[in-house]
Symmetry: C2
Subunit: 459 residues, 2 copies
């Protein structure tokens, strides 16, 4: 079968013009040189991970991270550095969780961790029959008759056929978010959820659940644990499950978004925001989620300043608080943006890890404007292999801005997605799994985009 090129078969024509805007090209090269030769985001990330570490909202470490982040921004001499007050939830894990598969007199321990915002089990734990389901729909079809008094085991794995792992996470994620309450509604006594990762290992991956009025204790089980449990359930023997966790919700705590600015020389009240989230889950250092994002956001301002660039519009780096279990920082930021009548041109979020850059996803651009972005900027980003410019993108922290500033363009930084969920929300999310050059190339790509938006806006 031959590929044919007739105009009839031409479904789309994509025109990339190597617009020789020499100044843009030179500035972007300068940005990359600064990022790759004098980059600071890797050593800053090291400090955040190793000197502070886990920093769940409301914790003492989260407060340390706020203070450290503010000082760090101040040390770079940005035009303005300040905190934005926000009340955040304060959930604590308590003692290390325990779990076991019970087969007669044999108890096989398996690695679990409470899902974020879960309630505790009784102090003696929960022991009950356990039933495996693969979807919320299947749960509905089983109904109360089959569920009542049991633990529900949500075991739908990541679908490996997705090319981007975020899509697999998206389609498996309902089990973690909505599964526990859906099970509780049918009288379940607990929920165990397969970790949201394709990696087959012994690490449970936490993450927030979203309770309705129906609540049961819920925990994530490692993928190896899930496979073992599933195999044992298939064996036909009478399998029970035991787990114990002592997590609890404490009163809300005052916390902060940390903000740094380079003031616009022409339009000081027009903003291009770049941010990640400072809070992290409590199981590891929050290196890839989202230490890399906050350090890249800071680096954007540092690079612009170091290269002597004076932005037309105000460029803002935001360390958002509480992305993981409440999004209170993102909501507060949007609320104040509306209140202060800030004109947001664009907001970029980097919260998919510090992996090698692929490009950016855009929400809020007309098809023509997106086409222009591709036409103009793809050739400038192509030498840096960061030229995948696609429709759709943003992030949890900047999402509320859409309502507060309806003309804002929301942009998600797209690093390569393959490794993110190997470590995401688990004890594996440590500094050592971040590659220095990949992180720096990301900072440079984002800075280049910020520069292009600042210079040219969206047409």
């Amino acid at each position: 079968m031959k590929i044919k090129f007739t105009s009839l078969l031409t479904l789309a024509v994509f025109l990339t013009i190597a617009t020789a805007n020499a100044q843009d090209s030179l500035t972007i090269r300068k940005i990359y040189d600064e990022a790759l030769v004098n980059g600071k985001c890797y050593s800053n990330l090291h400090d955040l991970c190793k000197n502070i570490g886990p920093r769940l909202s409301g914790s003492a470490n989260a407060q340390k991270a706020v203070e450290w982040g503010k000082k760090l921004m101040e040390s770079y001499g940005f035009d303005r550095v300040y905190l934005q007050e926000v009340m955040v939830p304060h959930w604590v894990r308590g003692e290390k969780e325990q779990a076991a598969i019970i087969n007669g007199k044999t108890r096989t321990p398996v690695p679990v961790c409470a899902l974020g915002m879960s309630i505790a089990t009784p102090a003696t734990g929960i022991t009950a029959d356990i039933i495996e389901v693969h979807s919320l729909k299947q749960l509905d079809s089983l109904g109360e008759a089959n569920i009542k008094g049991k633990i529900v085991f949500f075991n739908r794995p990541f679908d490996p056929r997705f090319i981007e792992t975020g899509a697999a996470y998206g389609t498996a994620g309902d089990q973690r978010r909505a599964g526990p309450s859906a099970a509780a509604k049918y009288g379940a006594v607990g929920a165990i959820v397969r970790s949201l990762t394709e990696s087959i290992d012994d690490y449970p991956h936490t993450g927030s659940l979203a309770y309705t009025e129906f609540k049961v204790p819920a925990a994530a089980i490692s993928t190896k644990g899930a496979n073992l449990l599933s195999d044992m359930l298939k064996s036909g023997k009478h399998i029970k499950f035991y787990f114990k966790q002592s997590c609890q919700q404490l009163p809300d705590v005052l916390s902060y978004n940390v903000i740094g600015e380079l003031t616009g020389t022409e339009n000081p009240n027009k903003y291009i925001t770049i941010g990640g989230h400072l809070d992290s889950w409590d199981l590891a250092e929050g290196a890839s989620d989202d230490g890399t994002g906050v350090m890249q956001s800071l680096e954007v301002l540092r690079i612009l300043k170091a290269t002597g660039y004076h932005p037309k519009n105000t460029i803002r780096a935001v360390f958002f608080m509480n992305e993981e279990n409440g999004d209170k920082g993102g909501q507060k930021y949007a609320e104040l943006a509306a209140k202060n009548k800030e004109d947001h041109i664009a907001a970029i979020e980097t919260d998919e890890g510090g992996f090698t850059p692929r490009g950016f996803g855009f929400t809020g651009l007309s098809p023509t404007a997106l086409q222009n972005v591709k036409l103009n900027w793809k050739p400038l980003l192509e030498p840096y292999e960061a030229d995948r410019l696609v429709a759709g993108g943003g992030g949890t922290d900047i999402e509320p801005l859409k309502t507060a500033a309806p003309t804002v363009v929301l942009i998600g930084y797209l690093p390569d997605s393959q490794r993110y969920f190997d470590m995401h929300h688990s004890a594996k999310d440590v500094f050592e799994l971040v590659n220095k050059r990949e992180l720096e190339l990301g900072s440079a790509a984002i800075t280049a985009l910020v520069y292009l938006i600042d210079q040219h806006g969206f047409q």
Copy 2:
């Protein structure tokens, strides 16, 4: 400054037509599903790394790898599996190397390893003054007066400004290949070469040198060791260096390329070859260099067969022997291709690691043919993010084919390059640093390209 779109400024027009060749699109999706759902390359790589391990040409392990590779190919029931005899060099490292920086009575040990094909030091080692240089040109300008009787320390680091790390390797590599003999020519007694990596750590990276008639013992020093040595030399104190190695060249050994084929249904004497190299350096498992490449090459044939595809042309997977220190396998393959009058349409090499796919580089295509490749195939590969199709590419193993089969198109598989030189030729090159999905996506991308070439050729 606005970007302007006038026809005068239009330097290049790049037209991508989403040619809706539904059959191609469906077949490629099928290829990806097979690779991602039933992929075998990751578990095969595990066996190669953990059950065989290091396999330098001429070693017992290299022979084990040949036998294992042939059996593995046979187990998949390909149309033809055979060995191709080739004589290879047999260099052995001997005892673990020793080295130290000597400052008066203080000896500071530093990690070194002999460069591949180096001669040994005397049994007592070499102790001498050491002089740092940053280029072969600088060595020339220093001349015999400054070099004679000393050890030369080549310490030019990777240039971090290159976006692809292979370019940094290329420009720093002359120190390792040509440095030792260049130093010897001026009467040096030894050469110490900064490891060819951007990673700052304690691992020395080996790799072949190429002697002229002037020979001195030569070793790689870890980047941390190199930085320390450089700092101490700058201190102004009288620094000496000591190193000892017992490597030697043994008589050549009979070894083999391992070849598997799916016979072409229309053109059995036309070939599309895909290969990597089975030999590896002796310091680690040769996981990324090039276990990933051989396992991906095998996987291409497995996927084609598993999806029920009957190729028009013969598709050949080759495990080349001796890429690391002689390229005898690649030369023998080309010699026999010429002798047997094989018509090679294309040869693809995968020897840049099993990282996330970016695309392919082509050598031997006319500009029009390359343009057609982009026009036709880029839209088919874009959904898989493997659509970076560029001029220039190939690999050491397939390079000799160019002379043997002048019309062959040589193609280099281009995975993301950022992490390769972190581990390359060092003790860090282990299975654990390979990501399952990245490896599988690479197999799928290569299979998709093989399919497209088989169906459509180059126009």
